[in-house]
Symmetry: C2
């Protein structure tokens, strides 16, 4: 139990606040140690978009499997075109595509068709003129021109599609080209969303907490997870614990009741159900987030405040899902370098998530980190991470913007 563990957070920080905050890097190291890549499941290639292969996909045969035409044209023997020109048209008989090519003959071929036996080049249409069944060749062609050699694109046995990223359009085309109809992919993390609260007495419609469910559904989908269930309006320590321990999920996210308020029982619920490993991060917003285990099941505590929930998910929790699903654990956002407009204000000692708008190449802060509210993230083009060692960025500084 946590009380015997000197590394574990104090059991009850309610009405006191965090006496010590855990650096975000330490939380990420915990994530990396407790989120092993999930096992594999078979899937049809037609359903595999966005899934991560469990193992690299190898080419079973050379691609192309034989020498073939790289373009539409006339397949022929290049040596027979030597000397051909506009003033010296050479005459070839026109053959059907499939059969071996007799001497002094050419065959009409479409790109991708096997080269007829005997041919070693494809003459473009512009270098010949068809007169009935006779082809007048008015340009010479080198051996191999217009031909895609066997194995040129891919040799049999090559691991062409890796297992470190989701399959994208080109990969799906390649699976079809390789004749792969089924493959093993990493299982998608099954994510339980436990919404602690939010409708308690004294809260208002539109109060923090109502937003976490919709936010987390979208973020979980982005990171390749599948929502196993949503458990709404969970209130009280034993109910939160019960929602954590029910089987069926690969990870449990508890949104709300993570802070230092009188009814913030999520950390206590996790400590009772299993182990609260980390609670209270040097992160703004989102600092009341926590991490722990029920058996080997990772549980993430997220703030109920909509912006804090979003930030804690982005900075810590998303990495856990991406690791479970075999994806790149790093932040998934596109990045853009930008120059700071007005000063970006931050607090020493915290990793600040600063919502910014890009305005003609300048990054302009929207609201303040402390209380910009969810509207700041809605209005933002992205966010800038300001490390704990800094109290902000001066105008003109170069920063990396993570784009939404």
């Amino acid at each position: 139990m946590t009380s015997l563990d000197p590394q574990a957070p104090r059991e009850d920080i309610r009405l006191r606040g965090f006496s010590r905050r855990v650096p975000v890097e330490q939380a990420l190291a915990w994530v990396d140690a407790h989120a092993p890549r999930l096992g594999a499941e078979p899937i049809g290639a037609g359903e595999a978009a966005g899934r991560v292969p469990a193992a690299p996909v190898e080419a079973a045969a050379d691609l192309p499997p034989v020498d073939r035409a790289a373009e539409d044209g006339y397949a022929l023997r290049s040596s027979e075109t030597v000397g051909a020109g506009a003033y010296n048209p050479l005459r070839f008989g026109l053959q059907e595509g499939g059969a071996p090519l007799p001497l002094a003959s050419a065959a009409l071929v479409a790109a991708g068709a096997a080269l007829p036996e005997g041919a070693d080049a494809v003459l473009p249409f512009g270098a010949a003129q068809l007169e009935g069944s006779v082809l007048e060749v008015v340009g010479a062609v080198a051996a191999g021109a217009g031909v895609e050699r066997r194995g040129r694109e891919l040799r049999a046995g090559t691991a062409i599609i890796g297992s470190a990223r989701p399959l994208r359009a080109a990969d799906l085309g390649m699976l079809a080209v390789l004749g792969v109809e089924h493959l093993d992919v990493v299982r998608r993390p099954r994510v339980r969303l436990v919404i602690a609260g939010p409708k308690r007495p004294g809260r208002l419609a539109g109060a923090p907490g109502d937003a976490a469910g919709p936010e987390l559904r979208a973020l979980v989908a982005r990171d390749g997870g599948v929502v196993e269930s949503v458990v709404p309006g969970v209130e009280g320590r034993s109910a939160i614990s019960a929602a954590m321990v029910a089987p069926g999920a690969d990870v449990v996210l508890v949104a709300g009741r993570a802070g230092a308020g009188p009814d913030d029982e999520a950390p206590l619920a996790l400590a009772e159900a299993g182990r609260l490993a980390i609670h209270g991060l040097a992160l703004r917003p989102g600092g009341s987030a926590g991490l722990g285990l029920v058996g080997s099941l990772p549980v993430v505590l997220l703030p109920g405040d909509p912006l804090a929930c979003l930030c804690a998910y982005e900075i810590v929790c998303g990495r856990l899902l991406r690791r479970l699903g075999g994806r790149d654990p790093g932040l998934p956002h596109a990045v853009r370098e930008a120059e700071v407009g007005r000063k970006l204000v931050s607090a020493v000692g915290f990793l600040d998530v600063c919502q910014v708008r890009l305005d003609g190449g300048l990054a302009e802060q929207i609201g303040s980190v402390q209380d910009g509210g969810l509207a700041s993230a809605v209005r933002a083009d992205g966010f800038v991470l300001i490390p704990p060692s800094l109290e902000g960025h001066a105008p003109g500084a170069r920063v990396t913007v993570h784009l939404y």
Copy 2:
């Protein structure tokens, strides 16, 4: 009919090749003129992730609707804390949260709760100590501290969520906060995929064409479209025409049979069914792409070769889908600036799509633009666009990589 239209491409380029190629900008201008944003449809907020609002979403009321606690703590009158300190603790009676606050009293409040009448600040837990029902305040607090004023985040009537981009996690949270349960979104483009060929005599298993369907399904989904139907193995002019004109789609993509080979009947089919506006682009790979209309229905002809199909979709066709769906028409890829490693080779007169791998900040070409094959796109981290005026980029040049 096209034969009367001097602007239309020549009717039959088969066995001749393209005598004139249309600059890609001209094709994009055609797309912009023929892809109006689709109409609206109602949707539940829970299903709205990734959808584009048909109109901006306004806040119906101030957010927050009343002054409320911005953090957990004790709500009180700031004027009564003047002079409080560690050596001068001031004593306050502790009240229930909801009722108006008597003088010399404080009320325990959770973040998001309405401030009790009379209170104008929230004291953090660290500045007070609870002794039974008496609160000893050991720090002064300014008026407004720890309080989120009514309307601070958002004023009633503000258009907080725009209609120019898909809804993301923060937007979905905001819809919940605003109490929006239904909204109108732009209809998703219904896309028909007509796969012309690919199993014709003389083609091999794994020949170009087999890959286009899976590629296009993934790309259409990425760009917010929904596949209305896939019509596979369509062969011959009248069958391709028939697949174009059947009702039910907002756009028809025909993959394959777009080039200058003997059986490349897709351009002729489009000219017969409607109007072939553009055929043959100054684009590599993907130059056999075409554009046209059947009535007001846009039809895109795409090459059957897997890499050419991918490139023609990315550079021209995706923009059409994004416009129909109300999205940003520009390329959707994240970009990164990089330095050219070995020379990027290109052809003057063509917009070249050059597959590159990023290797320690250097962009290295994979295969050649002309015949790298689909494997080059599978292996690539992204692509570099080399404009028609250049024959490549020298080592050390700065280029923009569009990341897959």
